[in-house]
């Protein structure tokens, strides 16, 4: 709906800028749809399970509605030009996540996660509002990039001092709450990477030693490359120690993508892939925990053939298969068979079983839309930091969705990770709201400057474009 406004770039001299449509009304309408869809899902679960609308349906809908509405008002107030799709997608994914967790709670009466998740969602939206209200300009973050990286490293190291849970040492427990600091660290690290690469872009891209006397093979000087590689190695190393393979993969991917975008050197991708392959082989061979995951991925039904019954991955595949094209319907699947991580790592299996390929594809496309909107903001921005930040945040979502969804559907080896917004997990929900808040901020910047052309590289729509848009 904003296609004409953002993709068409005027080649000629700038015309007087017409104000870009802000589309806050569309955002509000989409939010209402997202809340209604979630409430519908909640009712569908109740009707399927007990034949009645669940007693909390109204309260739940009101809660989610109020959260979404307050967030919308904050956007209206402080980011009036922001992309109108970002917030509704966040609300819808969070709402579907709450429905799925509520549905899985019905199978495990001793362990109710939905109320906690609602509290964390509230905190997440609160953080969203704080970011949107207080952070007037994303470029401010550039100043705090070293604070960010120190904070990220501290957060990453903290779990080492806490006992491991289910084989991974990624949680800290404080007063009954368990927090996964690695989740927050990824946003901080994205900010740092973006700031550092933006500041050292030209040095990275155009200076350095030639390797083998060939221009194309040019390594940046150690002084420029050193710090960032050190930090990256540090975070990945810590994560490997903590056995958080998914997050280390995510950081790795994020680093390679940002380095490529910042320097424009294809070589980084080759180096990245090479390192990733070496690292994967080394970790896969040496680490028994990871080695088991790789074995499971290659032979998902080995445990069945060995007479030990299906493992979680095969249960997950069974769940997807049971869903088929249209799914069994909310509340009518047998996700309980998946076992202990059904509400977190494997929540997508429930989506696949009960919503079918149709529902699963819709979810993937929602994530895809979120990522695309992030990239779009990055393309429209003019400052390197903002562009890299938008690309980094969008890539975090894309990589995370790919790693976890690919893992539970048997495309790649399984790594314990949270599906953004869907999975049970407070740290994850809060972090994802922070990501959406930052994307709102950069998209507001990107779209508002479309209306104010600067210099010769104006991206403002020409009168013809305006005309075309209204004609549609």
């Amino acid at each position: 709906m904003t296609k004409a406004g953002t993709t068409l770039v005027a080649a000629d001299a700038p015309a007087p800028a017409a104000p870009l449509p802000r589309r806050r009304g569309i955002e509000l309408a989409l939010i209402v749809v997202a809340v209604l869809l979630s409430v519908y899902g909640y009712c569908a679960v109740g009707l399927a399970r007990s034949g009645t609308v669940p007693p909390g349906a109204a309260g739940y809908g009101a809660g989610l509605g109020v959260l979404a509405l307050v967030a919308h008002l904050a956007v209206r107030l402080r980011a009036p030009c922001a992309d109108p799709l970002l917030l509704p997608i966040g609300v819808l994914l969070n709402g579907i996540g709450l429905v799925l967790i509520y549905r899985l709670d019905l199978e495990t009466p001793g362990d109710r996660a939905a109320p906690t998740q609602l509290v964390w969602s509230t905190l997440g939206v609160a953080l969203f509002i704080v970011v949107v209200l207080l952070l007037r300009d994303h470029r401010v973050l550039q100043r705090y990039s070293y604070v960010c990286v120190v904070a990220a490293l501290v957060l990453l190291t903290l779990p080492i001092f806490f006992p491991s849970v289910n084989g991974a040492r990624i949680w800290i427990r404080v007063a009954g709450f368990s927090i996964q600091p690695g989740e927050f660290a990824k946003v901080l690290l994205a900010v740092f990477f973006a700031a550092y690469l933006a500041a050292n872009r030209s040095a990275l891209a155009y200076t350095g030693r030639r390797v083998l006397g060939i221009d194309r093979l040019q390594l940046p000087t150690g002084r420029v490359l050193g710090p960032i590689v050190a930090i990256w190695l540090l975070s990945v190393g810590v994560l490997v120690l903590e056995r958080d393979l998914g997050t280390s993969l995510l950081f790795f991917g994020l680093f390679v993508v940002l380095l490529y975008v910042a320097t424009g050197r294809t070589g980084w991708i080759a180096v990245g892939l090479l390192l990733a392959a070496l690292g994967a082989v080394a970790v896969g061979e040496l680490e028994p925990h990871v080695h088991g995951r790789v074995e499971d991925w290659q032979h998902p039904f080995a445990s069945i053939e060995a007479g030990e019954g299906p493992n979680q991955l095969s249960q997950s595949l069974f769940a997807f298969a049971a869903g088929g094209l249209t799914g069994t319907g909310l509340g009518l699947g047998h996700s309980i068979l998946i076992g202990f991580a059904a509400k977190s790592d494997f929540i997508l299996a429930t989506a696949g079983e009960e919503l079918g390929l149709a529902g699963l594809s819709a979810l993937f496309i929602l994530y895809g839309l979120l990522v695309e909107r992030g990239y779009r903001a990055g393309l429209a921005l003019r400052d390197s930091f903002g562009r890299l930040l938008a690309v980094g945040l969008a890539s975090i979502v894309a990589l995370q969705v790919f790693v976890i969804a690919g893992g539970v559907t048997g495309l790649i080896p399984l790594t314990g990770m949270a599906m953004p917004f869907l999975a049970q997990g407070g740290s994850s929900v809060v972090t994802n709201w922070a990501i959406v808040a930052l994307l709102i901020r950069v998209s507001d910047r990107a779209r508002s400057r479309l209306g104010v052309p600067k210099g010769e590289e104006s991206a403002a729509p020409t009168p013809q474009d305006k005309h075309m848009e209204t004609a549609r």
């Binding site: 095969s314 069974f318 695309e372 790919f402 048997g410």
Partner: protein
């Protein structure tokens, strides 16, 4: 930079496409094989998610479903479980299904595509249908008579309608309650192991799955073969047989339980069950023609299904003359299920024609609409009709004045043959008491029932075991029940 952002965006789009393609692969193309994986409990859960259809006897269900509200939701219940167990089998969530519960599982569980009025659409939607019903050919009165007759003893009863092959009664004792195996709790596991430890093998269906030496009841087959082969032409001609009879090629001599068997005519020899006469007749008929007649009665057929499989009854075709002599009086390697011996009696009653026995009259959808009927069953000529007429005479004589008087029913024509089968090493085991018979009410046009009873009563004193004493009264009770209770139209 813009170009590289676009590249990165393209990379993310590729990841999305990979996810979509893989999800399609799993959910559409791999799904059938995942659904069929034995470790996938969803099939089991879906299977028990709806009540199972019922098995009907005389129009009344002998099974039921109990909603437990648990994960595997509906459990099987049985009315008169032990009495009908040799027919129904069990449907256990833990141990699977047997007998009719197994053979008709598709209909009962609702998975049979025939149950759907729109088979094609349901194939696409992968829906389940409500479980259908299985209407049996059993007659409740006959089943009750047989079950009560065997009470407290080990043995089996099989009764069939000679003109059609309908199985009217099928009882095995001691029995068990299949309800004890429904569900999947600890009590089910306990019942299973105690039933399997039980030396009396209560789960064994003796009527169709156990073969016994048929003893003298096999003389019906031998006599029919001798008459068909022309070895004997007149029932009242003296047979040139010694008493005792020395088995050909050996110095073993065969004796009789009764007196006057030397040179006894076939009619008398049948009435008094003379071993010597029949052993020699078998040798005279020869192994080929004996085997052909036995085969025509249903022996050496491993493929019989009613619809669950019936153990193969055997007549050894690779024997020397001495072995043939013993085989012809139902010893040596000759073995038969009670159902097989009921088929022998039914063949005589039905003019020499053997009808394939069957237990399922028809299967219906939930509402009663017919899905499949038994249809026409193949029949075989076991002996010439003239031979059958002579056999009937001789069997009637057995009941009127021979060893089978205990089976006599006033107001009916009853034919029978007793048997006392030796078994075990050197015949050390307690002999099995046999009785095979058929009956025709005086107002009936044709015999209405043929029955075989075997009693393996280990507790009884060996001398008292005899087909006439132990088995014939049970057979009479079953025949009376069939003759007195009119058949319900359509089962």
């Amino acid at each position: 930079m813009t170009r590289h952002i676009r590249h990165a965006a393209f990379f993310c789009a590729l990841l999305l496409v990979a996810l979509l393609v893989n999800a399609t692969r799993i959910q559409l193309f791999e799904a059938p094989s995942y659904d069929d994986n034995i470790a996938n409990r969803r099939t089991t859960i879906a299977r028990y998610g709806q009540p199972r259809g019922d098995i009907l006897v005389d129009g009344e269900p002998v099974t039921g479903s109990h909603d437990t509200g648990e994960h595997l939701r509906y459990e099987r219940t049985y009315t008169n479980g032990p009495m009908y167990a040799p027919v129904t089998g069990f449907a256990s969530q833990e141990y699977g299904t047997t007998l009719l519960e197994h053979a008709e599982d598709g209909v009962l569980a609702g998975t049979d595509p025939l149950l759907s009025p729109f088979a094609l659409w349901n194939g696409v939607a992968r829906d389940r249908y409500p479980g259908g019903d299985v209407v049996t050919t059993l007659r409740r009165a006959a089943q009750e008579a047989a079950y009560e007759g065997l009470a407290g003893r080990k043995g089996a009863v099989a009764a069939i309608e000679p003109s059609t092959g309908r199985v009217l009664a099928l009882v095995s004792a001691p029995s068990y309650d299949p309800s004890a195996l429904s569900g999947n709790g600890a009590s089910v596991t306990r019942s299973w192991s105690s039933l399997n430890r039980d030396a009396d093998k209560p789960i064994l269906n003796r009527a169709v799955r156990k073969t016994y030496p048929p003893g003298s009841t096999f003389k019906v087959v031998t006599a029919a073969a001798a008459l068909d082969a022309g070895v004997v032409e007149d029932l009242d001609d003296k047979t040139d047989s010694p008493d005792p009879y020395t088995l050909p090629g050996t110095r073993t001599s065969l004796t009789n339980e009764s007196e006057g068997c030397e040179n006894a005519p076939l009619r008398k020899a049948f009435e008094w069950s003379c071993n010597t006469v029949f052993a020699r007749l078998g040798v005279q008929v020869g192994v080929d023609r004996m085997a052909a007649t036995a085969g025509a009665f249903g022996f050496n057929d491993a493929d019989l299904r009613i619809p669950f499989s019936v153990a193969e009854s055997t007549f050894d075709t690779k024997v020397d003359k001495a072995q043939l002599a013993l085989s012809s009086i139902g010893q040596y390697n000759t073995r038969a299920t009670p159902l097989q011996m009921a088929m022998v009696a039914a063949a005589v009653a039905n003019g020499g024609q053997v009808r394939s026995p069957y237990l399922v009259e028809r299967t219906t959808r939930e509402g009663g609409a017919t899905v499949a009927t038994a249809g026409s069953r193949p029949s075989r000529q076991a002996m010439r009709p003239s031979t059958a007429r002579l056999m009937k005479e001789m069997m009637v004589d057995v009941v009127r004045e021979g060893t089978g008087t205990n089976a006599w029913i006033p107001g009916a024509t009853v034919g029978g043959k007793t048997g006392t089968a030796q078994h075990g090493l050197g015949n050390s085991g307690t002999p099995y008491a046999w009785f095979v018979s058929w009956a025709k009410g005086d107002r009936d046009l044709e015999p209405k029932v043929a029955v075989a009873v075997v009693v393996e009563d280990a507790a009884a004193d060996r001398g008292e075991i005899s087909g006439g004493g132990d088995a014939a009264p049970i057979a009479r009770a079953v025949m009376e029940a069939v003759l007195k209770s009119p058949a319900r139209k359509g089962g």
